[in-house]
Symmetry: C2
Subunit: 316 residues, 2 copies
């Protein structure tokens, strides 16, 4: 039986039908409205269109922010305030006519990598997603670690430098404050000022430097841009080393936009993991890029859809 996954993002809603083998059969995309009614309507319409003509056993919404699993409710979503506190399950389930669950988007993406992507052959996977922020999800002994309320897997807000830079969450020295796309942009701009003759410095004289500029210039060989990515990769490695010691995973898969910097970031992260994580965990773990890319949200959500008995529609 197929399942429908919905990736509810700050700018777009994507819904797709997914087979038990992880094939994405039919995907539709809509821009996200900015009213509660608009978002609910957009989700219902996306599910109806994507599912039209396909049999499916359940629907799951992957949503950015903090979820209260037992209430199937989003309690905090910094990029999608419109859905905070809305009883999405109660409003959508009757209309859609399929069992509906709600999960954190990073947890869903982690589960997608575990079922259909980089981690499909293993039982212990840590997934870190580097975008504007840093999210994560953990599969240990084949189980997605949701925690008591479904709020687990917040890997971006683990402190790695207690007196470090301020994070958007209000604290200091979170992994997100040091290794996210935003952190890369911030350091890129600082380094551009320090090194005006570098590629980064010359670009900054023309316009604001973004995180993608840092990655592009680094690939073109600009030393200043490379140093920014190496530093971010080092911080990523400090965080990942902790996850390796905690979970003894077979793999740490890094996804999200900033992961497109690829090896430039990961080489530096691996060096730090090797320094800071302990044997035998550090010798086992493979630190690599995720493979599902932008479809990980829809695929992961579909993989977490449940049937009326609570079992995953696409299997465990």
């Amino acid at each position: 039986m197929n399942a429908i996954g919905v990736d509810v993002g700050g700018t777009k809603i994507a819904a797709g039908v997914v087979t038990p083998e992880g094939e994405l059969l039919n995907e539709v995309r809509y821009p996200t409205a900015n009213t509660p009614e608009g978002v609910v309507e957009g989700i219902a319409r996306a599910v109806a269109e994507a599912g039209d003509g396909y049999e499916a056993g359940g629907v799951c919404l992957a949503v950015p922010g903090l979820i209260l699993a037992q209430e199937n409710k989003v309690i905090f979503s910094p990029n999608l305030h419109a859905i905070e506190g809305i009883p999405l399950k109660d409003e959508l389930e009757p209309e859609i006519g399929l069992p509906l669950t709600i999960e954190n988007d990073a947890n869903a993406a982690a589960w997608g990598e575990f079922r259909f992507g980089a981690g499909s052959e293993i039982e212990h996977l840590v997934f870190v997603t580097l975008g504007t922020g840093v999210g994560g999800g953990v599969i240990s002994h084949g189980v997605l670690l949701r925690g008591a309320q479904g709020a687990g897997g917040e890997l971006g807000h683990v402190t790695i430098q207690a007196n470090g830079p301020r994070c958007k969450c209000g604290n200091r020295g979170c992994l997100e404050a040091l290794a996210s796309g935003s952190a890369i942009q911030r350091r890129g701009r600082e380094v551009a000022r320090e090194r005006p003759d570098s590629g980064l410095g010359r670009l900054a004289a023309e316009r604001g430097v973004g995180g993608e500029d840092v990655s592009r210039l680094a690939r073109e060989g600009d030393e200043a841009a490379i140093s920014v990515l190496e530093e971010a990769g080092m911080w990523l490695g400090v965080g990942v080393a902790g996850f390796v010691n905690i979970f003894n995973p077979e793999m740490v898969a890094v996804g999200g936009g900033a992961a497109e910097a690829g090896e430039l970031l990961l080489k530096s992260a691996r060096r730090e993991v090797h320094l800071r994580a302990r044997s035998p965990s550090r010798d086992l773990v493979e630190v690599r890029t995720a493979t599902l890319g932008p479809e990980s949200g829809v695929l992961g959500a579909a993989a977490l859809a449940r049937d009326p008995s609570g079992e995953y529609v696409l299997g465990p």
Copy 2:
């Protein structure tokens, strides 16, 4: 059916028979020998004496250090080098005549708290043990997180201050380097020098200050000693906040010798958890002392003993 738990420590071997209700029926203790043969003989003797006259379905050894679970072998044990690399299962099982497994001591203590102690009513428990070092164990969704090789749960070597003080493991800024009994002793001695007129300072003029002295003086109201514990508690809180964000647990239970400082340490830790962990996880979690005390090793080990089919003898 009962099980036999063995707590193999650097100075003593304790073995006991434990019922499915967590009652410790018969415990024997021997000093730990410092040769491989001596340790193996000591374990065999302790198990034979403890189990004499009792029926039991399996034995588990809780051992300090890094375990390779699939080989039932200790690969690194800083306080018990004699057992490193010894095929304990192969040597002991025929002699004991019961199925034998080997687990990390902190994981066993965590499982003991989960089955019979502070966490007996919950499904998501993080256990941190503060002794000379810092160990840990995590139960998530009712499952002990061993990781791929049985080396998971190394909570003491998560980096919380990347450029912090040197840890015995060789890195900088591990939780262990900032919140262990050794860290409390180190800071106690530093503060004694800075404040020679404090209780801590006056004691240091007579003899070397130990971690327990700091706890005792703090209970007696010495401001300098209190400040040392508050600082250690703050660092403990930085680490625990990360665990709360990662695991969304119902409880964090703190055990081990240094936890005897109790509320002086935990109050400060809770303050930091409230600052650094996110809602809803931080609102749910209870940070408290563990309840099993020094028997947690034997009880936890017994609870992890397996029967020939691989099931826990004392139940899940």
